[in-house]
């Protein structure tokens, strides 16, 4: 090793602040990520997106794996379920998973739910939602009805189809 490399003390330049400027940010980043991991391990969710607790919430987010996991755990995908605020929009709704996937505009998940038989109920409200929010799945739902030219907002679509 050359004398340059065996330098054991910081120079006045380093002491003037350079060392701190170089050292502190990456250490803080490391500590922040570590704290996040520890917090998560003990159940802190303050910095996490809301997690789906019902199949309908998972479907509203378009999370297929979580949808299937919750069905496997025993939730009935044909039942009305509660969807909390901020899963679809600021409102809260009572929806079946298929309807939640339609309102969330997740066409692939709609088709997956139909494929696994998670839609054994009267689908007229779902078709109504699809006409207003996701017309490309109308044929999958067996409905050839007319469609809305522009996807309606979720709350408006919910109000218009509430009677079904």
């Amino acid at each position: 090793m050359s004398p340059r490399e065996t330098e054991g003390t910081l120079t006045s330049f380093a002491r003037s602040g350079l060392a701190g400027r170089i050292l502190v940010p990456p250490l803080v980043a490391f500590l922040l990520v570590s704290l996040y991991v520890v917090g998560e391990a003990v159940g802190y969710r303050g910095l996490a997106r809301p997690e789906a607790e019902t199949v309908a919430e998972a479907a509203a987010l378009g999370q297929a794996a979580r949808t299937l996991q919750l069905i496997e755990e025993g939730q009935n995908p044909s039942q009305l379920q509660h969807v909390r605020p901020n899963f679809l929009d600021a409102g809260e709704y009572e929806l079946r998973p298929l309807e939640a996937a339609i309102l969330g505009r997740h066409a692939e998940l709609v088709r997956l739910l139909l494929r696994i038989g998670a839609a054994s109920f009267d689908r007229s409200r779902g078709s109504c939602f699809a006409r207003l929010r996701l017309p490309e799945v109308l044929s999958d739902l067996g409905d050839g009805g007319s469609e809305s030219p522009e996807p309606l907002e979720i709350a408006a679509a919910f109000r218009m189809c509430e009677g079904y």
Binding site: M1, E5, T6, I22, F30, E51, Q69
Partner: protein, 471 residues
């Protein structure tokens, strides 16, 4: 009790590297074995002896990677059916080994060296070329394997020369170059290290290493009759978009040289300036459209400023280099300058950030030494405190960003498995599975979809726009 301060710094450095690796491991262990590029690998190695797996890859058309699947096969057999834990655990172990080898090669034996280490590791881990080595499972990520080989090569080159170091150098090169093409860079590292004064590998061993590389090319292109990948192999970035294989053939089929040259230059620029990415000028495109993303500014500005610092350092040391006077920092900067263009040649066929990961590793090491020299007060390169702070903050953001990407990857892999039936339908050939293969598929599906640990996605508001989720 450790009385030698040098050793004390070294121990702290190893401890910090291990902590960084453990932190990343917690994110890696949340990612199930992926469907694309992993499930098919399992099917390929299942039920075949190791020798057959290796032999099959000797004659695999355009690619010559006989050891690539060997490591997958070994981990697969050792897993005893616990694929998720085995493969993700192996990747986490690889990250730990890599970071410890990096700390060893950086020779952290002074306070200045220790102070610069967190930033050095933030650069090595946070650089976009490293992301592909951890975000993808594959299911054994061979780019990560090659990075370990590169760091091991530097440690061998820096060791006290014995017959063992010579033999280890040859074995490492043979293993690496028969794993993926990037392994050929080990030859560059050994030769460049010798040229700047490292003597862990003898001149005789260098000749043997050179003969090994020659044998590789003769074996691959003459004896086996392999051909380099053609334009019709895959899509590739060009300019502001990604061209399909058909488009590539139409535009460059008559003369592919301009396309290859573009890729080589893009690959060099990708490491130095974080632009283009995968051959596509996303930041420039964003600027032209007036909508660049904040993370693009972070990436491009930190990389460009760091490159300028390395360039200024090189310029101030040029006289010493001409007189063949090298210290530790000089050596790493020169080795980086040697690895960069030759690494870029390997990206000639198509530019992908992770192909440049060896150059990215030495880029991080070179930057580390520039900062360390400045902290030691012996470097001729001055760094304004504000610039140092901005750089450190920028690289720290990228360090956090890689962890965010890993968390997002956990979700996307789960989603990929949920749509398994769609994936099968999209395959170019039908994929009938034997009952055993069906059982493997079901096991992986259950791991990813039904038994997967809950991995909450961070929600950091506007701060998330600082992170590069494209990696």
């Amino acid at each position: 009790m450790i009385t030698d301060p040098g050793r004390r710094y070294q121990r702290v450095a190893y401890g910090y590297a291990a902590a960084v690796a453990c932190l990343m491991a917690t994110f890696l262990l949340a990612i199930p074995v992926q469907l694309s590029d992993s499930f098919t690998e399992f099917i390929s190695v299942h039920g075949h002896p190791l020798s057959q797996v290796i032999a099959a890859e000797f004659y695999n058309g355009t690619y010559f990677r006989p050891f690539r699947r060997a490591l997958i096969k070994i981990v697969y057999d050792v897993s005893g059916g616990h694929y998720y834990g085995a493969f993700r655990g192996f990747q986490a172990l690889q990250v730990l080994v890599l970071l410890l080898l990096i700390v060893r090669m950086l020779r952290v034996r002074s306070r200045a060296a220790l102070v610069a280490l967190p930033l050095g590791l933030a650069i090595v881990v946070g650089i976009h070329t490293f992301a592909g080595a951890v975000v993808e499972g594959l299911p054994v990520n061979h780019f990560l394997t090659i990075l370990i080989c590169c760091a091991a090569a530097m440690n061998i080159a820096d060791a006290k020369r014995t017959r063992l170091t010579d033999a280890a150098a040859v074995a490492l090169l043979v293993y690496a170059m028969l794993t993926i093409e990037s392994g050929l860079l080990l030859w560059v590292i050994f030769v460049a290290a010798y040229a700047v004064g490292y003597r862990g590998v003898s001149r005789t061993a260098l000749i043997v290493l050179t003969l090994c590389v020659a044998a590789y090319f003769v074996g691959r292109f003459v004896l086996i009759g392999g051909a380099p990948p053609g334009l019709n192999e895959r899509s590739a970035g060009f300019g502001f978009s990604v061209l399909s294989p058909d488009e590539l053939v139409r535009r460059f089929g008559g003369n592919p040289i301009p396309f290859y040259a573009y890729n080589v230059l893009s690959a060099i620029s990708c490491v130095l300036f974080a632009e283009p990415r995968g051959g596509v000028w996303t930041f420039v495109g964003g600027l032209l459209r007036g909508r660049p993303e904040p993370w693009q500014f972070v990436n491009v500005l930190t990389s460009t400023a760091t490159t300028l610092l390395i360039a200024r350092y090189a310029a101030t040391r040029l006289t010493n280099w001409r007189a063949r006077q090298f210290d530790e920092a000089d050596r790493f900067v020169i080795i980086f300058l040697a690895v960069l263009p030759l690494n870029a040649l390997l990206a000639g066929g198509y530019e992908k950030d992770v192909i440049m990961s060896p150059a990215g590793l030495f880029y991080g090491a070179a930057a580390y030494f520039v900062f360390r020299e400045r902290l030691s007060g012996v470097s001729a390169v001055s760094i304004a405190p504000a610039v140092a702070l901005l750089l450190a903050v920028g690289w720290s953001v990228r360090f956090v960003g890689i962890h965010e990407s890993l968390r997002a990857r956990a979700l996307s892999v789960r989603e990929e498995w949920a749509y398994y039936d769609d994936w099968v339908r999209e395959q170019p050939r039908p994929m009938p599975l034997t009952p055993e293969e069906q059982a493997i598929k079901q096991h992986l599906y259950d791991d990813a979809v039904l038994r997967a640990p809950r991995t909450p996605q961070p929600s950091l508001g506007v701060a998330e726009r600082l992170f590069d989720f494209t990696q």
